[in-house]
């Protein structure tokens, strides 16, 4: 077993006192970020990224990925205790988590949520351990045309799978691509879309977009809903934890279904949020008493949390093996790798095996650290939410401003952050999805590069994208996903006609 050996080497890399310390710091910061409104996994990692430039890459990625795990755990706390989802993927957790807390079982709900998160993540990490090296080996044969086809697949699946109107998804994604092409063209050296402005020559950094869209934008949305948080006390003790643990194995089928949905949605860029809803829906369909759902059924907490965490974790699989992140936070982590001079993709597994396996090993350890941290510190984090929003809001905005400035040491970025914030607010309210824009901004240059290289090699013949079976298959799948909303509409109309006749 090659992978097992590699994994043990990874544990040797990850298991230093220093890294374990970073793991706990990362998790605590992550839970904090996950519970505070306006700070989420993506922009939390974006703000902290510049602070890690001086650290060694292994420690830095361990800390940043632990922030991510922490944020995934933290989202559940606010959902259950305050009925306020700290993260979009924990919306489904509020359906049964909050009623449980109101019935006087906040401890059970929290334990179930954290344990399910842990199980979901663990399944996803297991999958990464064994599947990632295979995918990477397979992807080594990819040329520019194949890479572009995979990127096309990523973006088309956004259009096909998102609940938002397809043309809004396309608009949002294309704005991301357009912003990514601002600045110097890396192939010809020509300036594009700069309109003579020196500030625009540097191009748009996606970290600024993430901080603005998800930071300021989120604060504006929260502000609209009013400033008061009303919640239940977090009472959790060892007895409750063990009692809940004794109950959970009965839901093994739910766990398996939820983890599978999560892994699938995470690898394809469906993301954690739709995964959690889908898992909740399916759990309800299979449940013995579906009437209990929505009134405080523990299974209604288990299903979305397992799926969300499995999706969030497995989003790192395409990021590491193909250089294509499955979620905005994975995109930010990818940006970090690029800054440290590590090019994600199949070669990373060959050239930087230590780094990759160190990271995978840290996923196992980081989730254990996360479970320990959240189970022991929930009351403190719940107390933080009692701080009035009129204190939290300006402090978070200050953090966003500092974060935006440190990305490129430029005031222009801070102004841009405000503009992205307003854009995030408007887009969110009009249901333009934000994730495709961020991913397009990150991948824009790469997608364009592989597109042009492929065309160069074929002398401008577009048929290069379906020349061989592999590339053609991926392209065909991409186009099928792209038009799937149209197909389902046509099918729905035909069905409707039949019913009418």
């Amino acid at each position: 077993m090659e992978e097992i050996n590699a994994l043990f080497n990874g544990f040797a890399v990850a298991l230093t006192w220093q890294n374990i310390m970073y793991m706990f710091i990362g998790t605590i910061l992550g839970v904090l970020i996950g519970t505070l409104p306006g700070l989420g996994g993506a922009n939390g990692v974006a703000i902290l990224l510049p602070l890690t430039f001086s650290m060694n890459p292994v420690s830095a990625i361990i800390m940043l990925s632990c922030i991510y795990w922490g944020a995934l755990f933290g989202g559940a706390i606010t959902s259950i205790l305050f009925n306020i989802p700290g993260e979009p993927w924990s919306v489904a957790t509020t359906f049964d988590g909050y009623p449980m807390a109101q019935k006087g079982q906040p401890g059970e709900a929290l334990t179930a949520a954290f344990t399910s998160s842990f199980v979901g993540a663990f399944v996803a990490v297991l999958m990464i351990t064994f599947l990632a090296p295979m995918v990477a080996k397979f992807a080594l044969q990819f040329g520019p045309a194949e890479f572009f086809a995979v990127q096309l697949l990523t973006f088309c699946s956004f259009v096909g799978m998102s609940k938002e109107p397809p043309f809004k998804t396309i608009a949002s994604m294309m704005i991301g691509f357009a912003l990514a092409s601002v600045g110097m063209d890396s192939i010809t050296g020509q300036l594009r879309l700069t309109f003579g402005s020196e500030e625009l020559m540097r191009g748009f950094d996606f970290l600024i977009a993430v901080i603005g869209l998800f930071g300021l934008g989120e604060i504006l949305l929260t502000m609209e809903e009013g400033l008061a948080f009303k919640g239940t006390e977090a009472k959790i003790n060892a007895k409750v934890v063990f009692q809940t643990w004794a109950k959970l194995p009965a839901y093994w089928a739910t766990y398996i279904r939820a983890a599978l949905i999560g892994c699938w949605m995470g690898v394809t860029p469906g993301g954690a949020t739709p995964a959690s809803f889908m898992s909740y829906g399916i759990a309800k369909k299979f449940a013995k008493n579906p009437e209990g759902f929505g009134k405080g059924d523990i299974e209604g907490v288990v299903a979305p949390e397992t799926a969300a965490h499995a999706a969030g974790t497995s989003a790192l699989l395409p990021m590491l093996t193909l250089g294509i992140p499955g979620s905005p936070t994975a995109a930010v982590l990818l940006g970090g790798l690029l800054i440290w001079g590590l090019q994600p993709g199949p070669l990373l597994f060959v050239e930087k095996a230590d780094f990759v396996w160190g990271l995978i090993a840290s996923m196992y350890l980081g989730n254990i650290a996360g479970l320990i941290v959240v189970l022991t510190t929930v009351p403190y984090f719940a107390a933080i939410l009692k701080i009035p929003f009129s204190i939290i809001a300006p402090v978070i905005l200050v953090i966003c401003a500092i974060g935006a400035y440190t990305v490129g040491n430029a005031m222009f970025d801070v102004y841009l952050m405000i503009i992205f914030g307003i854009m995030g607010y408007v887009f969110k309210k009009l249901s333009y999805p934000l994730a495709p824009m961020v991913l397009a901004l990150v991948l824009g240059k790469m997608a364009e590069g592989s597109f042009r290289q492929a065309l160069l090699a074929s002398q401008g013949d577009v048929s290069v994208f379906w020349e061989n079976g592999l590339c053609g298959g991926i392209t065909a799948l991409a186009i099928l996903l792209l038009i799937s909303p149209l197909l389902s509409k046509v099918w729905g109309m035909m069905k409707g006609n039949k019913a009418a006749a």
């Binding site: 043309f167 879309l193 200050v398 408007v426 333009y432 597109f451």
Partner: protein, 168 residues
């Protein structure tokens, strides 16, 4: 991207906002196409020219914005509902306007002083805290940030008069 077309009730309708946003996106796409065309969007001697990829991106922006705009025009303003009510808009502006002023101030008085003023003003104005209480949050927070960035991580942030008095 802010739009102030108020209708009678003092709130902004979703239909108005949809059309305005789609229009701005459409103009953006057109600008992208225009500038890409200027630098060449065809097939050059060394492969696709610099503007060709962005040109088609711009084209797709224009098409998708046009479709969204068309759908919005056809929609019923009543059914579309309101984008933001009068009271909510006031709350949103209560954060947005101070944030813009805060960011504009950073260049003149440095980020730490501007942040301290911003937090204090916001707490007194929105949270109805006393000035003493607000300052007792704002000052320690910014002293902490100062040490974190200037001393521990050695990342210089915008500074002005006050920091210069301490030799920074």
């Amino acid at each position: 991207m802010q739009d102030n077309h108020n209708n009678e009730s003092g709130s902004i309708g979703n239909k108005t906002m949809e059309i305005a946003t789609a229009f701005i996106i459409l103009v953006f796409g057109a600008v992208v196409m225009w500038d890409s065309n200027r630098i060449g969007s065809g097939w050059g001697s060394d492969g696709p020219e610099s503007g060709s990829f962005p040109f088609y991106i711009g084209l797709m922006i224009v098409i998708s914005a046009a479709v969204t705009m068309f759908n919005a025009f056809r929609s019923n303003a009543e059914e579309a509902g309101e984008f933001v009510g009068h009271d909510e808009l006031k709350l949103v502006m209560a954060v947005l306007i101070p944030s813009i002023i805060y960011v504009a101030l950073i260049d003149f008085i440095g980020i730490y002083v501007a942040s301290a003023i911003f937090i204090t003003v916001f707490m007194v104005w929105q949270g109805k805290f006393s000035i003493i209480k607000s300052l007792s949050v704002a000052i320690p927070v910014n002293v902490f940030f100062f040490f974190m960035f200037e001393v521990w991580f050695k990342i210089p942030l915008p500074k002005a008069w006050l920091e210069a008095q301490f030799g920074y």
